[in-house]
C-alpha cells in the first residue's frame, strides 16, 4: 500500500494547496486518489492537519500579532523587544494589506478611524452578577460568552492602538472595563485606567508631531495589553475553555475580511472545522450551537470562490459578526 515517497517539494506544495482548498477540481481528485492509496502521503496529510490545528490553537496565532504565552515561555526579557518589533511589523502588514478604499488619502489616522467604526460593537456587557454561580452548566456557558466578548474587544483594542486611533482604543478599552467590572478573576481597573488615559492630540498639545496616539503611549498600552492577554489565556486554559481564544480568532478573521486581506483570510476559512470543534467542546448551549453551525455552513459556501475578485469579503465579515454576536449572547436571551 505504501506509495512513492512524498519528498518532491512540488508534491508537498500541492498537498498544502489541497489543505487550503486552492486546487481546481481535477487536481483535487488526483490528490484524493493518492491519499487513499499512498499511506506515507496520507500520513503527512493527517499529521499536517493536526499540527496546523495545534498551531492555530496557539494563543499567539489567534491575533494579528504575536502576544501571549508563547512569548512568555521564552522569557519576559525578550517580550519587550519582540513585542516592539512585532508591533512595527504588524503595523506595516496592516498598512500594506489595506485596500485603497480603506486607505484613502487620509493617512493612518483615517484608516484607523474607519476601522474603529467597523469594530464598534454593541455587545451587552456580561456583568458577573448575571452569571448563575450555582449551576455549573450555566456557569460554563456564561464564561464562554464572556470569553467571546473579551477576545473580540481585545483584538479591537490592539488594532486601534497599533493604528494610533485613540478614539477607537478608548472605546474598546471602556468596553473591556465594562465586561470586567466586579469580576473576581480579572482586574477591570486596568482597562478603565487605559480608557481614561487616552486623550485627543489637542489635549496633549502635540497634534502636529503625532496626529494619533503618541508612540510611547501606544507602546506602553500594547505592553499592558499583552500582559492582560496572557492572563486571559491562562485563566481560560485553567477553566478548560477556549472561548476567549475563539473570540480573538473570529474577530481578527473578521478584520481580515473587512480589510480584504485575501490570503490569510482564505487560510482562516480553511480552518473553520477547528472553530467548530472548539464550539462543540466548550459546552455552548445547543440552541446557540445550532445557530452557529448554520452560520459556519454559510461561511463554508462563501469560501468556495476561486477567483479573489469573487470572494464576498463583505458577506464573510457580516457572517463572522453574526457568529460573534450569537456566541456572545447571554443565556437568558436565548430562545427556547
Amino acid at each position: 500500500m505504501n506509495g512513492p515517497h512524498a519528498s518532491p517539494p512540488s508534491d508537498l506544495e500541492t498537498l498544502a494547496a489541497f489543505i487550503e482548498h486552492r486546487l481546481p477540481e481535477a487536481e483535487r481528485r488526483r490528490v484524493e486518489e493518492r491519499l487513499a492509496r499512498d499511506e506515507e502521503f496520507y500520513e503527512i496529510y493527517t499529521e499536517t492537519l493536526q499540527t496546523l490545528e495545534e498551531l492555530e490553537a496557539e494563543p499567539a496565532s489567534a491575533s494579528p500579532i504575536s502576544i501571549g504565552p508563547r512569548l512568555h515561555q521564552r522569557g519576559r526579557a525578550r517580550l519587550l523587544s519582540l513585542a516592539a518589533s512585532l508591533v512595527v511589523v504588524s503595523g506595516f502588514v496592516l498598512m500594506w494589506a489595506m485596500p485603497r478604499y480603506f486607505l484613502g488619502s487620509t493617512g493612518p489616522t483615517g484608516v484607523s478611524a474607519r476601522l474603529g467604526d467597523r469594530a464598534d460593537w454593541d455587545l451587552k456587557a456580561l456583568h458577573p452578577t448575571t452569571r448563575s454561580a450555582g449551576d455549573p452548566a450555566s456557569w460554563t456557558f456564561e464564561w464562554g460568552a464572556l470569553g467571546i466578548h473579551l477576545g473580540t474587544h481585545l483584538i479591537d483594542l490592539q488594532v486601534a492602538l497599533e493604528a494610533g486611533d485613540w478614539r477607537a482604543a478608548e472605546r474598546a478599552a471602556a468596553q473591556l472595563a465594562g465586561e470586567l467590572k466586579g469580576s473576581l478573576f480579572f482586574d477591570g481597573g486596568t482597562f478603565e485606567e487605559m480608557a481614561s488615559s487616552l486623550e485627543p492630540p489637542e489635549a496633549r498639545g502635540d497634534e502636529g508631531e503625532h496626529p494619533g496616539l503618541a508612540p510611547d503611549t501606544r507602546d506602553r498600552h500594547l505592553q499592558t495589553l499583552a500582559e492582560q492577554d496572557e492572563l486571559f489565556e491562562q485563566t481560560y486554559q485553567q477553566l478548560g475553555l477556549r472561548a476567549y481564544h475563539l473570540g480573538k480568532w473570529l474577530e481578527s478573521t473578521r478584520l481580515m475580511a473587512l480589510s480584504r486581506d485575501e490570503r490569510p483570510l482564505r487560510n482562516r476559512l480553511g480552518r473553520l472545522s477547528a472553530a467548530e470543534r472548539i464550539l462543540q467542546k466548550d459546552g455552548f448551549e445547543t440552541y446557540k450551537l445550532q445557530r452557529s453551525e448554520e452560520i459556519l455552513d454559510r461561511l463554508k459556501l462563501l469560501r468556495e470562490a476561486d477567483d479573489p475578485q469573487a470572494l464576498d469579503f463583505k458577506a464573510i465579515a457580516k457572517l463572522l459578526e453574526d457568529l460573534i454576536v450569537e456566541l456572545g449572547r447571554e443565556s437568558s436571551s436565548l430562545e427556547p
Partner: protein, 303 residues
C-alpha cells in the same frame, strides 16, 4: 509609523515574492526568518507527539532548520506560490520527520492504537517493536523519562492496549514448550493455541479487507480512512474534502455494505470478523468493529 510605511510595502511576510528590492539571498533569508519560529514550533510538536526523547527532539528541530537553509534556501525557492508558504513549510516538516523516522526506525510505523495513546503509547510500542525490549525493561526505562510524565503502572496499562501483532513474537524451541506448566484444566495451553489460530485468521482478514478497501472508489476509501481510522467526524471530512455533508452518511453506509458483502463472499461471516477485530483492534488498518459515531449503522449493524 508614516515614516516607515514605504518599507512596509516592500516586505510582506505572506508572500514569497517579498523583499523585491533586496538581493535574492537576503529575500529568502527574510522569508526564512519570518517563518522560523512557527516552523521550529511545528517541528518540536511533531517530534514530541511521536514520543521522541528531548535530545532527539532538539536534533530534529536543528535538522529541519538546516534543511531549510541548505543550498541557499532551496526548499523555499521551490515554492511556486500554489499554496501559502506557511502551510507548505509544515508539510516540509512532516516529510522531514518521515525521513528521520525511516533512518532511525526503518520501516516501522506506529499502530493506530499507539497514536491514539499519545507520546507514551508511541514510545512504548517503539521500544517493544523496534528496540525489541522486554516489557518490564521498556516500562522501567520510559518511566524514568521526565518528558513523558508517566509512571510504570500507567505504562503497563498502555501496554495492555497495544495491538499484539505489532509486538514481535518470540519463538521458542519445543524443549522450552515442554517446560511450560499445564494447569489442571489445560486452559492456558488452549488459550495459546486459540491465539495462534486467531493470529492466522487475522492475517487472512487483513488481506481480504485490504483488497476490499482498494476496490472502493478512492474518495470513498479516503472518507472511511479519515472517519474510522482517524476518528474525524463526517462534518469535518465534508469540510476538508469540500463535499456536501448530508450525502456522506449514505455514502459511508454504502461503502460499509460493500465491504461486508466482499468479506462474506470470501467466506468470512460477520461474527467471525467481529471476534477477530475485538481480539486484535489493529489489523494494520485500524478499523474498530463498531462505528461509535452517533446515528451510524457501522459494520456491526449491517448484520
Amino acid at each position: 509609523m508614516t515614516g516607515t510605511s514605504s518599507s512596509a510595502r516592500r516586505w510582506n511576510p505572506f508572500s514569497r515574492r517579498s523583499g523585491s528590492n533586496d538581493g535574492p539571498q537576503e529575500s529568502w533569508e527574510k522569508t526564512f526568518l519570518a517563518h522560523r519560529e512557527r516552523i521550529e514550533l511545528a517541528a518540536e510538536r511533531v517530534a514530541k507527539r511521536a514520543g521522541l526523547p528531548p535530545q532527539e527532539v532538539e536534533d530534529f528541530v536543528a535538522g529541519v532548520r538546516l534543511k531549510l537553509i541548505e543550498d541557499d534556501y532551496a526548499v523555499l525557492r521551490k515554492h511556486r506560490g500554489q499554496s501559502s508558504m506557511a502551510t507548505y513549510l509544515i508539510t516540509v516538516v512532516h516529510n522531514a520527520f518521515k525521513d528521520h523516522c525511516d533512518q532511525r526506525f526503518g520501516k516501522y510505523r506506529p499502530s493506530a492504537k499507539a497514536k491514539e495513546l499519545g507520546p507514551c503509547g508511541r514510545a512504548l510500542e517503539r521500544a517493544l517493536v523496534v528496540d525489541q525490549m522486554e516489557l518490564e525493561a521498556a516500562v522501567q526505562a520510559l518511566a524514568q523519562r521526565p518528558d513523558l510524565e508517566t509512571t510504570e503502572s500507567e505504562l503497563k496499562r498502555i501496554a495492555e492496549q497495544l495491538p499484539p501483532t505489532k509486538v514481535k513474537r518470540r519463538f521458542v524451541d519445543e524443549q522450552a514448550l515442554e517446560q511450560v506448566p499445564v494447569s489442571s484444566s489445560g486452559s492456558a495451553t488452549e488459550h495459546r493455541l486459540l491465539d495462534g489460530e486467531r493470529a492466522r485468521q487475522a492475517d487472512q482478514l487483513s488481506t481480504v479487507l485490504r483488497s476490499a478497501l482498494q476496490a472502493l472508489p478512492a474518495q470513498d476509501f479516503l472518507i472511511l480512512k479519515l472517519h474510522l481510522r482517524d476518528g474525524q467526524t463526517l462534518a469535518t471530512i465534508a469540510d476538508r474534502l469540500e463535499l456536501p455533508q448530508r450525502p456522506l452518511y449514505r455514502r459511508k453506509h454504502k461503502s460499509l455494505d460493500t465491504l461486508r458483502n466482499h468479506l462474506e463472499a470470501k467466506g468470512l461471516s460477520w461474527p467471525e470478523v467481529r471476534d477477530l477485530l475485538e481480539w486484535n483492534r489493529d489489523l494494520g488498518l485500524g478499523f474498530d468493529p463498531e462505528d461509535s459515531h452517533p446515528g451510524s449503522a457501522g459494520l456491526g449493524a449491517a448484520t
